[in-house]
């Protein structure tokens, strides 16, 4: 069901400084964890598409949540409601559900983006969810009220204590991962993922992480987006073998 299409932008909101939420017209049905590959310019500068996770999806209506970190995301942020967006997707695999009734979800910064839809999906599947949201400071706990509204067990951590506990989010999550026979999901910076993976491994929890890499094709053809994995295969592609990987499978750089 790979699709290349142009969808109208329904809404483009600035939800926090440097963070945008973009709602698209109906057209792509995606699962939590998948992403779309967006052409941000009609020229060749920038040359490549930009991958953005599905933040939410209802009846084929995608919502994206993204941080403007460079020219590509800035060009995306400059697009207005009514304009169309050239999209490839949905791409990639999705967060797997397991037979465990409990789930622990850990987000670091903009890594929260794909986890919103995961939280919704886990709830729909009847799971009991604990969500840990970490960021540098209060301002970077993007859409915290919406995340908080979604789950009963919501905890926050910031590096500077401006919101929630002043701690690494993994320190907050550690006792729960240790104590609860839950499936663990995480998305965020590499050191955070590495620590979540270590904790999950330590307590024998199955754990899934969503990874990032520089993508080119986004469809598995160029072999540019690989991450090192354990075993004979050595490398796997983030764009089609991921972005979600079993934590035990990958090396964290």
């Amino acid at each position: 069901m790979l699709k290349l299409q142009k969808l109208e932008i329904i809404k483009q909101e600035s939800v926090a400084p440097g963070h945008q939420r973009l709602t698209l017209a109906k057209g792509i049905n995606a699962l939590a964890g998948q992403f779309v590959h967006v052409r941000v310019s009609e020229t060749y500068d920038p040359f490549l598409r930009r991958p953005i996770s599905v933040h939410d999806c209802t009846e084929g209506r995608l919502v994206l949540l993204y941080r403007t970190v460079g020219r590509g995301t800035e060009l995306l942020a400059a697009k207005k409601a009514g304009e169309t967006l050239d999209l490839l997707g949905p791409l990639g695999n999705s967060f797997p559900l397991t037979d465990r009734p409990q789930a622990v979800v850990v987000a670091g910064g903009i890594g929260a983006a794909p986890l919103y839809y995961l939280l919704r999906s886990l709830k729909l599947a009847g799971k009991q969810v604990s969500f840990f949201y970490g960021a540098r400071n209060e301002a970077e706990l993007i859409l915290r009220d919406e995340y908080r509204a979604l789950v009963a067990n919501y905890s926050e951590a910031t590096d500077d204590g401006s919101a929630g506990t002043r701690a690494l989010v993994t320190h907050l999550a550690a006792p729960v991962i240790a104590g609860l026979d839950a499936t663990v999901y995480a998305c965020g910076p590499s050191p955070m993922l590495k620590e979540v993976a270590r904790l999950a491994d330590c307590y024998g929890r199955s754990c899934f992480v969503s990874l990032e890499a520089q993508l080119a094709c986004g469809v598995g053809a160029c072999l540019g987006c690989v991450v090192p994995v354990k075993g004979r295969e050595k490398y796997r592609r983030v764009c089609v073998d991921g972005p979600v990987f079993a934590a035990g499978e990958v090396f964290f750089c």
């Binding site: 290349l4 040359f47 080119a216 094709c217 987006c225 089609v240």
Partner: protein, 313 residues
């Protein structure tokens, strides 16, 4: 729209470039591969190859660097993928890579019985493999020897893929033809580098990578012009082609067919769109065949004289 390259008949002059189209399966979900002149598959080595560590890619202005390092499943596993491609009844050209003449030969020997293989493209120009690879592509004596050896290994057409990272590409082109090449393809990527200012180190784990995309088109056009003027075998032009306009320019510069690489990543439909665009161009301008525009710019160039300093001296 049909063209004949090295004895292989193609429905049109547009191919996918090696390494940018996998073994075809990924793009088969976007369009019918029959719409292509040929599918050129990923660089295939005798043994499976894991490729280079990541990061393998960096975006650059108007292009990208890659240092995939020839990751591929090896010729034995590639057989299955090539057989699967038969469903689309599109000519398959196998891009052959190796670190020694014996390794190149081994790939051909492992695949030569496959009717699905229409021709080999011998990659003597990959900048991302350390032993051999690029060395093959820069020394004319080595090129003659390698092509001659492979000529002895198969009856199928041999297309030799040239590196742009040389002082005089026509020297290597002539060497390939002397060795028995049926056609030449060019250009492979330009050797480049990217630096990550924040991390204060090279972006690519392999240090250097190959530059492709629209940025390199002027270099590619120049080499296609030079090589197609220097040898009598057909030239497959590539390097930065992102649509019919670019493709027509390459044909006019002397290419008999074209291949599209990195542009697939930006626009997965670029190959069929290019086929249609060339077809429309020919019809609108009263050309009966692709052949009529091959090298057209050279003919015009020869006709140009000095008009008081306007144009050619």
């Amino acid at each position: 729209m049909t063209v004949k390259i090295a004895g292989v008949s193609l429905a049109n002059p547009v191919m996918s470039a090696s390494g940018c189209f996998g073994y075809g399966e990924e793009y088969a979900s976007f369009f019918d591969l029959r719409r292509l002149g040929a599918v050129v598959v990923k660089g295939t080595t005798a043994e499976p190859c894991a490729g280079n560590p990541p990061p393998r890619m960096a975006e650059t202005t108007g292009g990208m660097l890659n240092a995939i390092g020839l990751q591929n499943p090896g010729a034995v596993a590639a057989r299955e993928k090539i057989i699967a491609l038969q469903h689309y009844s599109v000519p398959v050209i196998v891009n052959v890579s190796g670190h020694s003449a014996a390794q190149y030969r081994a790939v051909i020997e492992l695949l030569d019985d496959l009717a699905a293989v229409a021709a080999y493209e011998i990659n003597i120009s990959c900048p991302n493999v350390k032993a051999g690879g690029m060395a093959f592509g820069t020394d004319p004596a080595v090129v003659v020897g390698l092509v001659r050896e492979l000529r002895g290994a198969t009856k199928k057409p041999l297309i030799i893929k040239l590196s742009p990272n040389v002082t005089d590409v026509t020297v290597i082109a002539r060497a390939a033809v002397e060795g028995g090449a049926d056609a030449l393809s060019l250009i492979n990527t330009l050797l480049g580098m990217a630096i990550d200012m924040e991390r204060r180190r090279p972006v690519l784990a392999n240090l250097t990578g190959g530059l492709s995309g629209p940025a390199i088109k002027p270099v590619a056009l120049r080499m296609v012009w030079q090589v197609s003027s220097a040898v009598d075998v057909p030239v497959i032009g590539m390097g930065g082609i992102s649509g019919a306009r670019d493709a027509v320019e390459f044909l006019m510069a002397g290419a008999s067919a074209v291949a599209i690489g990195a542009a697939n990543f930006t626009n997965p439909l670029v190959c069929p769109e290019t086929v249609e665009g060339i077809s429309a161009y020919l019809a609108e301008n009263g050309f009966a065949s692709v052949k009529e525009i091959v090298g057209l710019a050279k003919k015009e160039w020869l006709k140009m004289g000095d008009e008081s300093g306007c144009g050619k001296k």
